[in-house]
Subunit: 339 residues, 2 copies
DNA sequence: AGCCCGCGTGAAAACGTTTACGTTGGCGCC
DNA sequence: GGCGCCAACGTAAACGTTTTCACGCGGGCT
């Protein structure tokens, strides 16, 4: 017993396939009685329209693709969660594809998604304007996440990396820490470079005489752990450390603990993102909160809009706000937690 | 300029569409010279076969669907990561759908994936044998993850929840802790109940005189935090706590810290899963390691096999092994970490 | 009473592939 | 030199929808 087709339903309901299609999709053009009969027949036969056939004629897949980096850590978990929730709400399916190391892999991923999706959500360091123009059909709606690509050609949704960094560094300085070091993110990563820019700018503005101190990281806990040890080994330890994301902050915290350095008494620490575990490490991590799931939701909703009204929406670059969340690792005055 | 179709390529290469199809897909039936010409034409036109049209005739989507619970926490992040990696390796796309609260939602999700996927990976408490028989076409390959469904009807891949629990409880007892409490997972969850079963069995076997002590949780950090406080409030505190997953263990650890209870000196603690952050909390969390990404990979590879050889593979229930990872929270003798 | 309009319905084209089946041409074999 | 066979290639059907168009028919208008 192969799956029932629209023809079977038509025969069962003693109407033409056209009427079946109309009854099931478009509201109009069918008498209430026949619609009833058709629905009953469809029900009886457990009819489910063949998605591919529909895509073929409709040119709509009701699917959006998400191009992501290696899905490591809670950031992406939350991001996908937000996207997926919103997608379900919009009646869209979600096709994910991650871990394209090089531009070539990313290009392959984009190409293989061609025709399977109505639009693309892209979060990738490898992707710039040239890449997009080379690999994407003009018509395919795209929303870029945390991308350096700017200008009026593409829809972009960013986290306020720069603003968040400035605010956090400022907060650390205000809390009385004279020297603030940065554990930077991977080179070439947009978020990382923006956060570093914020750090440098805030230091220049609010602590112009303090020495800058930057140690490399790659957004993983392990790199944060290594960076923590590296900072401790330096001739003059900083009084505070700002990690460019929470995972590195968590790794760094572990390094400090291993070395017997107290946080925040000996060294203060802050992260970026406010991933769920941030509040459960000890001491609880002060961080720059960005509502990651909301970020994903917003991105998808924006994409859905663009898909719905193609060309109509003029490309815009939105930026998602942040909050400074003061917990236990950054020392100084601590207002009550704003949950 | 709409996308190029196979006809355009045929015209450009001065052959029929059939030859184009043969040249690009099947190896045989075309002269080397014409194949060359066709490839050149396809290249020139940037031809990408229309996925839907191909699906329609081929009845293969080259896509697998993953039905998951609410994607909260690192467990799912890792799981999806493993699945996605393996999918790419197999040349398959990944359609994810999460957060089906009730059976009705799950059914809707399954139905809407009908025809869009060649097979399904299902990890859901709501799904049992009856559900599957009611909502799935017989022909659709399925691999069940961590499912109570057994018997020869379905392919199942499980984590050794029971074995891991027994081993960890045994380890805690061997380390000298006389009383071990359990922070249980959500009711109705298969992993949760199996882990609880393991706890009870191990206690009965290795500490038959010790009182059992179980407090409810739901696999989130927050529930672990609450459970931690609840345990401390009890008349007689346990000497060790076994949390049914790492997230709850992390939450519980935070609760103990907040209450000034030292781990492991005052109370030992262990978790389950070995999510990435487990080693970065302080003290580092002892836990039952299951290689989550591998779990996802294995599941996908199994599904790919079933898809490739339909009906041929006889349903089997595999169980993934575990390791006890002794870090700092469980006290007692601590061998060097086996990374 | 005739006309036209609109509504419900059916027939058929179209979407872009794959593939079964013919058709050609060239070549070896008798 | 004719016969048949095989390889290369073309023709057309098929996949399951949606949608356009035509058709018939009833009723309100002039």
């Amino acid at each position: 017993m192969a799956a029932a087709t629209i023809k079977d339903v038509a025969r069962e309901a003693r109407v033409s396939v056209a009427s079946v299609s109309r009854a099931l999709n478009g509201g109009g053009g069918v008498t209430a009685a026949t619609r009833e009969r058709i629905h009953a027949a469809a029900e009886r036969l457990q009819y489910i329209p063949h998605a591919a056939a529909r895509m073929l004629i409709t040119r709509r897949t009701h699917t959006i693709g998400a191009l992501l980096p290696d899905l490591y850590g809670e950031f992406f978990s939350e991001l996908i969660r937000g996207i997926d929730l919103a997608a379900r709400a919009c009646g869209l399916h979600l096709l994910v594809s991650s871990s394209h190391g090089g531009a070539a892999e990313a290009a392959a991923a984009v190409r293989s998604m061609q025709g399977r999706v109505d639009g693309l959500l892209i979060l990738s360091e490898r992707v710039d304007a040239a890449f997009l123009r080379a690999n994407l059909p003009k018509a395919l709606p795209v929303v870029l996440l945390n991308s350096a690509v700017s200008g009026p050609a593409f829809h972009v949704l960013n986290i306020d990396n720069h603003g968040g960094s400035v605010a956090m560094v400022q907060h650390l300085l205000r809390a009385g820490h004279r020297s603030v070091a940065l554990i930077a993110g991977p080179a070439g990563n947009f978020d990382a470079s923006e956060r570093e820019r914020g750090y440098r700018e805030a230091m220049a503005r609010y602590a112009p005489r303090a020495a800058l101190s930057v140690v490399a990281g790659d957004f993983t806990e392990e790199s944060g752990y290594r960076a923590g040890h590296e900072l401790l080994a330096r001739a003059k330890r900083p009084r505070a450390v700002f990690a460019a994301n929470d995972m590195m902050a968590v790794g760094c915290l572990a390094a400090f603990k291993d070395a017997g350095v107290r946080v925040p008494e000996d060294i203060a620490l802050a992260g970026f993102d406010d991933i769920p575990i941030a509040r459960y490490v000890t001491p609880a991590l002060s961080t720059v909160r960005v509502r990651i799931a909301d970020f994903g939701r917003l991105a998808l909703e924006r994409l859905a809009q663009v898909i719905e009204h193609p060309g109509q929406e003029s490309p815009s670059a939105d930026t998602l706000g942040f909050e400074i969340v003061v917990r236990d690792t950054c020392g100084g005055i601590k207002p009550e937690e704003n949950s």
